[in-house]
């Protein structure tokens, strides 16, 4: 062992050279598009000027962070990002698990139609979905206002109000995503050995018992892996949903604005490079901490289910 490690590294490089060659193009792309931006976060500590460029812009210490965290927006968009993220995660998991279990109980007959219908929204981008939302929510012509009118209820100027947006955004998210995760969980259930169910049936287990004592435990690995993956996303908001569905309408910001949309506007509208980099860095670090913690907790409870 010692002898072989004393052989020059050059020997191994040559021996692995062709595999390294296969690695090279992808590694270069990752280096440029993932690692260089990581070093770019030093812009968070600089006062960036386009004419001075990356190297010559002056250092400003923590001023960019201070500027952001002193404002009320910091708390607001953090609350929105985490609040929506958690709600999406919990509701999607619970609802799609429930639907998948129900699907399993139902006959196969109508299943395909339901599955296809539930999958369609997943195929569309948020941009297209925002047109569907507009058809329902448009103040003048929108269908929802017409329904409210016929019912004798007050109509709403949806894009100018704050209160309805949590409900609208959550509905839109579920509408687009529940179908797909239901399919994933349903595929997981299909993978469970049928003999368990037969044995349970012989023992006289009820539907509820088979669902809670067999299906859920057997799916626990799939559920935790998907949960860990989405916990990392709690701090990465769904930009498309929060930008296009409210139509980037200023009046809705208190309840729709998340870190991602805020950074986008800070960059594109205000051109504030320093502060938007600082917020991005804050987001990345918290996201990292969340995934690592979640994985650590899962590993403590059950090593099998952890991601790494």
């Amino acid at each position: 062992m010692i002898k072989s490690s004393k052989r020059s590294e050059w020997h191994y490089l040559k021996k692995n050279s062709e595999l390294l060659l296969l690695l090279l193009p992808g590694a270069l792309l990752i280096l440029v598009f993932a690692y260089l931006p990581m070093f770019g976060v030093v812009l968070a500590f600089k006062d960036f000027h386009y004419d001075l460029g990356f190297w010559k812009s002056p250092w400003v210490g923590l001023q960019n962070f201070k500027f952001f965290f002193v404002s009320d927006t910091a708390a607001l968009i953090t609350r929105n990002t985490v609040g929506y993220g958690l709600t999406y995660m919990i509701l999607t998991t619970v609802i799609s698990l429930g639907l998948a279990i129900l699907m399993n109980e139902m006959g196969k007959r109508w299943l395909r139609i339901h599955q296809t219908a539930m999958f369609i929204p997943y195929c569309l981008s948020w941009v297209v979905v925002s047109y569907l939302a507009l058809a329902l929510l448009d103040t003048q012509n929108g269908y929802l206002n017409k329904v409210l009118e016929t019912l004798g209820l007050p109509t709403h100027m949806w894009y100018l109000e704050t209160a309805p947006w949590p409900y609208i955004l959550i509905s839109a998210y579920l509408w687009k995503n529940v179908g797909f995760s239901t399919l994933v969980y349903f595929a997981g259930i299909m993978g469970i050995n049928q003999e368990y169910y037969e044995a349970a049936k012989i023992d006289g287990a009820s539907r509820w018992q088979t669902a809670t004592r067999i299906t859920l435990p057997m799916l626990s690995t799939l559920i935790t892996v998907l949960l860990i993956l989405s916990i990392g996303h709690i701090f990465v908001g769904d930009f498309g949903l929060h930008y296009f569905i409210p139509n980037d309408a200023g009046m809705t910001y208190p309840t729709t604005d998340i870190i991602d949309t805020y950074v986008y506007r800070a960059l594109r509208v205000n051109g504030d490079i320093g502060m938007s980099t600082a917020i991005g860095l804050y987001q990345s670090i918290v996201g990292l901490v969340l995934v690592v913690t979640a994985n650590f907790v899962v590993r403590k409870i059950n090593d099998e289910n952890s991601l790494f």
Binding site: L22, A27, L43, F54, C123
Partner: protein
């Protein structure tokens, strides 16, 4: 696995039983059928609304609002769009071009990275894997990439800005690696003994053997490229390079401006009801989203497979 004759017999019996099992009328089953019918309707109904708006006469929309059954049916919106089809076709062209090039390149690179990191005898496997997967956990954020691509690589207003940044996805590499690790190593070993070199093994043995995984990933990738708008939103200003999704974004913003700004309309005497703007907008949304709705539901099985393969440790 127990493959004794009894077990096989028992299995076939249970299969027959479940096949013949007629559930007695159950309130739970009835309710879940109703629930799923409601869900299916909720998924479909917005599309019907948008389709019917796109076929409604503009004056009827202004008078009655959006309706499920057009009170004044017309295909004017589509005629209006196809009278000047260049904008739409060019946007389709850009989207198709980025989807084809992006998917092909991305598949190749994903396969290469997945293969190399799946080889247990590759000396630099651990550092290479760390190099790839660390990017899943931490990133520089939007702004540094934006400045890099715009100021230093000068990729803005080229279709490469739509392709290059999204070529490598660690998650897909993980899926690919999971698939390839299940491939028997003896195949590669025997090819090596026969004197085949690594590149040859990869292109003539590994790639053909991984067609199922490549097909699933290709589906995901083309789906992602077709539906992507974020890079276009950031990097494309040139009218000639707008992909279909960005065209929709632009149209939403412009029409909002036209229809919400009454001073503008009064001042120039533009009568918005003469132009089928409201229905044309929905017609464009249908033309942009339609291909996806028609193609991808047929592949739903493979989407699910791709995700479950990747998310389970392999």
């Amino acid at each position: 696995m127990n493959t004794s004759p009894q077990a096989v017999a028992a299995k076939s019996v249970t299969v027959r039983e479940t096949g013949a099992r007629k559930e007695p009328f159950s309130i739970v089953i009835l309710l879940s059928h109703l629930l799923f019918i409601a869900i299916t309707l909720a998924m479909i109904v917005p599309f019907i609304l948008v389709i019917s708006i796109s076929f409604t006469e503009e004056t009827a929309i202004v008078e009655h609002g959006y309706q499920f059954i057009p009170s004044d049916f017309t295909a004017k919106a589509y005629r209006y769009i196809f009278e000047a089809p260049l904008v739409l076709f060019r946007a389709y062209g850009i989207t198709i071009l980025t989807t084809v090039i992006g998917t092909a390149l991305s598949l190749l690179i994903t396969a290469m990275l997945g293969y190399v990191t799946s080889r247990r005898d590759f000396r630099y496997r651990t550092p290479a894997s760390f190099f790839i997967y660390f990017t899943m956990l931490f990133g520089g954020g939007l702004v540094p990439s934006y400045i890099l691509i715009k100021q230093y690589l000068h990729l803005d207003n080229t279709i490469w800005a739509l392709i290059l940044p999204s070529l490598v996805s660690p998650f897909y590499i993980m899926v690919m690696k999971g698939f390839l690790s299940k491939m028997p190593f003896e195949i590669i070993e025997s090819a090596k003994i026969d004197g085949a070199r690594e590149l040859r093994i990869f292109f003539t043995i590994v790639i053909p053997l991984s067609t199922p995984a490549l097909a699933t990933l290709g589906l995901f990738l083309s789906f992602g490229f077709w539906n992507s708008w974020f890079s276009a939103l950031l990097y494309i200003d040139n009218e000639k390079l707008i992909p279909i999704q960005l065209l929709l974004v632009r149209m939403m913003q412009k029409l909002e401006f036209l229809t919400s700004n009454s001073d503008f309309i009064n001042q120039f005497g533009v009568d918005t009801s003469k132009f089928p703007t409201l229905s044309a907008r929905m017609a464009m949304a249908i033309l942009a989203g339609g291909p996806m709705v028609c193609i991808f539901p047929f592949f739903q099985k493979y989407f699910v497979k791709g995700l479950t393969v990747g998310s389970l440790k392999g």
